[in-house]
Every structure is written in C-alpha cells, then in structure tokens.
C-alpha cells in the first residue's frame, strides 16, 4: 500500500459506480485493547462481501487522513481515517488507515468479484 493519491482513488471510485460491487468494510482497535490498557474499550465491526451498487462516491480530505462515502439507493457506505491505498492485481481498490505502528484501524475495499471467504487450506 502507499499513501493515498486522491485523484487516482477518486477515478477508481468512479469506475465502480453503477455496478454491482462487493465491499469489505472494517474498523478495529484489536482484541487486546483492554488487555493492555484497562481504560480502553474493545470495539470493532466488519462486513465482508456486502454486495452493493452505488450511485456515486467521493474521497474527501481534511488534513492528514481521508473519508470515503458511497451513496446507495437506500443508504450509505462510509469510512473515516483512510490513509493508504492500493489497486491490486485483481483490479480491486483496497484502502486502509494505519496507526503509527502500522496497525490497521479501518479498511474499505471495493471489488467487482467477491473477496476470499473460507480459509483455503489446500492453496
């Protein structure tokens, strides 16, 4: 992954508009948050392979990190704190936000094909 280049990401978001796409959306502060800091809360959520079709989407920045919003017919997909991106060899748009130690805090990924599901033991 590399630092977000807003124009490249925006173009990719535009390419996926009005198509059936699969989304991986996730945020986490890890399963050990309150183990190492008793004042911390363990929170996280993910949805993998949600099939959506968005009318349009936008990547917006205020200072350091980015927010991404995708407008659906009946709702929204939203991620805040995205810092890095990659368009991978399967032509998927992978976006993530990392903390100072490189730990993932948020991820939003968009693909025209489903993301891998069951762990493939025989790969």
């Amino acid at each position: 992954m590399k630092a977000i280049e807003q124009e490249i990401v925006q173009n990719k978001i535009n390419d996926f508009a009005d198509k059936d796409v699969y989304v991986h959306l996730e945020t986490t502060n890890g399963a050990y948050a309150s183990h190492f800091n008793e004042n911390a809360y363990n929170v996280g959520a993910f949805i993998r392979n949600a099939k959506v079709r968005y009318q349009h989407g936008k990547i917006v920045s205020t200072g350091g990190s980015y927010r991404v919003g995708l407008k659906l017919d009946l709702g929204w997909v939203y991620a805040e704190g995205v810092t890095d991106f990659e368009i991978d060899d399967k032509d998927r748009l992978l976006m993530a936000g990392h903390d100072r130690e490189g730990r993932l805090m948020v991820a939003l990924e968009i693909s025209e094909t489903p993301f891998s599901n069951e762990a493939d033991v025989h790969e």
């Binding site: 008793e38 890095d84 990392h98 130690e101 490189g102 730990r103 993932l104 891998s116």
Partner: protein, 219 residues
C-alpha cells in the same frame, strides 16, 4: 521413538510462538513429536508489519509463510483447521468439537495444549479452547490426552489460582525469540504493545515463564 505426541491447538499463526514455544522446544529436545493445529490463517490481524508490507487481502499468505518459518525453527509440523479469523465463537461448538475429536484421535495425542476458555482474552482463543475441552470430554476416559490450558487474562490467578505446570523457559529463550521473530508481520507490533504497557516487566516475565492449567475431567 517417543510414544507421546503433543498437539498444540490455538487459533492464530503466532499463538504457538508467544504462548508455548518454550514448552514446545522442551518437548522436541526430549524427542517428543509436536504438531500445531492452527485454527485460522490470522487473516483479520491488525498488525500489517512495521513498516506496513501486508494488506487485508494479502495478510493470510504472509502469515502462512511466517508460520512455516516458525515451525522450521521449532521443528514441528503444522496443520490448518480451516476456520476464519475472528469467527470461531460463532461456529457451532458441537461441530467444532467433533472435528477436533477426530484430529486428536488421528494423531493419538497424549498431551493437548490449548487456551483456557474464559481466561484467554481473544474470543477466538476462548472459543477454540472450549471446543478442545468439549472434544476431549467426549472421548473415552482411557483414551483422553491431558489437556494443558494457557491463561492470558490479567486477573486470572485471582479466580483460578496457581497453574499446575510452570516452565522456566530461560534455556529455550533464544529459540522462543527466533520463533516469535519469524512472525515478521506480527512480532514488532505485539512486542511494542507489550513494551508500551504499564505492566511491561510483568508481561515480559509471562513470556519467560510458560504456565498451564490441567483440565480435570469428571469421568
């Protein structure tokens, strides 16, 4: 040839190195075969390397390679159980226990090392530990391996007392560290987490003493 076989059953690639690699090394030095049944590929891990080199979609491939390297360091075999990271607690326990019971019988395990359900912090740890206990409970009492459980939670001794087995793994520390470091994407992040806490020395001490509770089955 040893007539013992130790099965280590944890959910993530690196649990074996952080939690039991001193004990594993001790068994291997005594000629006892050890197999790691790894529940998942750790594909939902938060650590992506530092600096970041993995992403959500490539992390599992990295972690498989890392575990292969750690297994080489520890001289053990690895088999994956095929579950998905973070989801073990939502799988039907009976089904998982059945799966595990078949594996434990297949390997003719004499000792099974797993997490102490309820005291292992990560939901996957608790869920897989509980399924292991259930699997062994269902076996004939003559065929049952010993079940050694690793507790992690900060307060566990207040509730469950002193562990039955305490290994000072100082003699194996170099090899434990080598196994931990084989998990390139995870080691840095985890070690810096440990070093950033207020109880840093306590957390490090826990890595140097491996402690297990034996499960006591009622007939």
């Amino acid at each position: 040839m040893s007539n013992q076989h130790v099965l280590v059953i944890f959910p993530h690639p690196d649990d074996e190195s952080f939690g039991a690699s001193g004990t594993i090394t001790k068994f291997r030095d005594e000629g006892v075969p050890v197999t790691y049944l790894c529940g998942t590929l750790g594909e939902m891990g938060r650590n992506m390397g530092n600096p970041v080199f993995a992403n959500r979609e490539t992390l599992s491939s990295f972690r498989k390679k890392e575990l292969a390297e750690a297994a080489k360091q520890l001289d053990i075999d690895v088999e994956y159980l095929g579950y998905r990271d973070k989801t073990l607690e939502f799988e039907p326990v009976a089904q998982m226990a059945d799966h595990l019971k078949r594996k434990i019988s297949e390997y003719k395990a004499t000792t099974v090392i797993t997490h102490y359900p309820g005291y292992a912090v990560h939901p996957d740890h608790d869920a897989l530990g509980a399924a292991v206990v259930e699997a062994v409970r269902q076996m004939d009492s003559d065929d049952r391996p010993e079940v050694w459980m690793h507790a992690i939670s900060n307060d566990h001794e207040e509730e469950i007392g002193e562990p039955d087995i305490v290994y000072d793994i100082e003699p194996y520390w170099d090899r434990k560290l080598a196994a931990i470091k084989a998990h390139l994407s995870q080691a840095d992040g985890m070690m810096s987490l440990i070093q950033s806490t207020d109880q840093q020395s306590e957390q490090l001490e826990r890595l140097k003493k491996e402690r297990f509770y034996k499960y006591r089955f009622k007939q």
